[in-house]
């Protein structure tokens, strides 16, 4: 019991510590693919450190929502990290609190707050980005739902610890059509939800074209640091959900000793880095979609997830 709580804490610390690294590696890989040198992989840590030491400026007209949002954005991925398998194959102490849908709602709460805060800030670009994020969000929502329903339909559960075992027992389940199609649909979702390239340009600095970035424009100092760290963790947590729950449990430990759990950290990190390379390649090979073409991108994701559902129906 006490050890399970300890592992849970380790899991959260791993997410907090490694999330900026994953983002940094992604940025670095993208620059390398575009044959530039790029910033160091530790740049996100330096940015966050620097922001923590700066003064914070808050818009005069803003309400408590603006001040509370960085904390919500920061804490929500930590909550999700308590629920999902990051390092272990077996459920840890807090895992009973929610299934994958619960985790999705917690992440959506953070999105909701950052949207409100963007409107609250009074910056004209904030509400624009917020409404665009909502547009992407409500188009992505049905896909999320169908993915989760298909997963629960295939594995007979929405609890991530039961789901991830299903893909490799027997091993041939891994190449089941519904599994492969689900993975494709979820990668498209991750790209849309974390503001990656075909949908939004994460490294763009042009306010009119921003979707995700413009929501946190008004933040400075500690607020900006928390927002940045929170969005890194959100990306990391989504990667963990994808890699550990929807792809395979490989790399997760089944052992119950502290060493075994710590040994899983580099394995999981290697998995995340592998996925980050894939995302960097995708991001470097597609162009940003026009705003109203995003509908088509997410429509394609919807059709992919529906195809997963259909093939699942046919196979059973």
């Amino acid at each position: 019991m006490a050890r399970n709580i300890l592992f849970n804490v380790i899991q959260v610390l791993v997410v907090m510590a490694l999330a900026p690294l994953a983002t940094g590696i992604l940025a670095r890989f993208k620059e390398r693919i575009q044959s530039r040198r790029g910033p160091s992989v530790f740049q996100p840590y330096r940015d966050i450190w620097k922001l923590f030491h700066k003064d914070e400026v808050v818009p005069e007209q803003s309400s408590w929502i603006f001040r509370a949002t960085p904390y919500v954005v920061f804490v929500a991925p930590i909550f999700v990290a308590l629920l999902i398998p990051v390092l272990t194959r077996y459920p840890l102490f807090f895992a009973f609190m929610g299934d994958m849908l619960g985790g999705g709602f917690v992440l959506a709460l953070a999105g909701f707050f950052s949207t409100l805060a963007a409107v609250d800030s009074g910056n004209p670009y904030g509400p624009m980005g917020a409404s665009r994020t909502r547009m992407v969000g409500f188009l992505a929502e049905p896909v999320f739902m169908i993915v989760f329903f298909t997963v629960s339909f295939i594995a007979g559960s929405t609890i991530p610890y039961i789901v991830h075992k299903h893909w490799v027992t027997p091993l041939s389940n891994f190449i089941a059509p519904s599994h492969v199609l689900l993975m494709i649909a979820f990668v498209m979702l991750i790209l849309a939800e974390t503001g990656r390239l075909p949908v939004d340009n994460p490294s763009g600095h042009f306010e009119l074209a921003m979707i995700d970035e413009s929501k946190s424009l008004e933040y400075s100092g500690r607020g900006a640091a928390l927002m940045k760290w929170g969005s890194c963790m959100r990306f990391f947590v989504l990667c963990c959900i994808f890699l550990n729950v929807l792809v395979t449990p490989w790399g997760l430990t089944a052992g119950e000793t502290t060493e075994a759990v710590l040994l899983a950290v580099p394995l999981v990190l290697a998995k995340v880095i592998g996925f980050v390379v894939v995302i960097a390649v995708i991001e470097s090979s597609v162009a940003k979609l026009r705003l109203f073409r995003i509908t088509e991108f997410l429509g394609a994701a919807l059709v992919t997830s529906l195809a997963a559902m259909i093939t699942r129906f046919l196979e059973s």
Partner: protein, 227 residues
Amino acid sequence: MSGSAAVLPVFEHLNGLAAGLFLLTAFALVAVRQVQACLRIFIVQSVLLAASACIQAYSQEAVHLFILGWITLVTKAVLIPWLLRRTVRREVYVRREIAQVLNIPSSLLIAVALALFAYFIASPLLAVADGPFPRVNLPIGITGLLLGAYAVTVRREAIPQVLGILAMENGAFLAGVAIAPGLPLIAELAAAFDVLIIALVMGLLTRRIHERLGTTVVGEMASLKED
């Protein structure tokens, strides 16, 4: 139907994977905006079709299905694209925005509805031809057929329409291989040759249209007649 119970789950999954990706390409053929991409997706679809035939051949130890798979690969993934590229000028392929009757999101929704419709048509048929392969391939084949027909109606450009017709044939083939694996080879050969001729004739026709009118947006040709 040699021993439907003896099929290894690996082959079942592999065939399902080929069929599932086939379904995806069928959707993509309706939704893609570029002529070039349409042709590439058609090639991928044909490769998947051939893969499905070969997987079934391997698991049922049926040599003629193997031959069939290879014929499909050669005619549909190599010869037909080559013919279409040869007969129609390059300007047609570099068009990036295909004229459509409906916009793409609503097109996709209709395509999904058609897929569900195909599933309901196929389910009574499955009572006759049950087995791990027909169960997956028959509904997806019918979906491919309907989506090909849909592409023909909704696209206004000649080449995507031709590809729609060929995709219909692909869908019919995917279903046919699974429900009647014992079809004589000569019939399949004739069908493959037929498709080749269809592609050639339609390619030449498109070329003529393009030469005469400078465009291949055939959807606008109804108004030409009236003036």
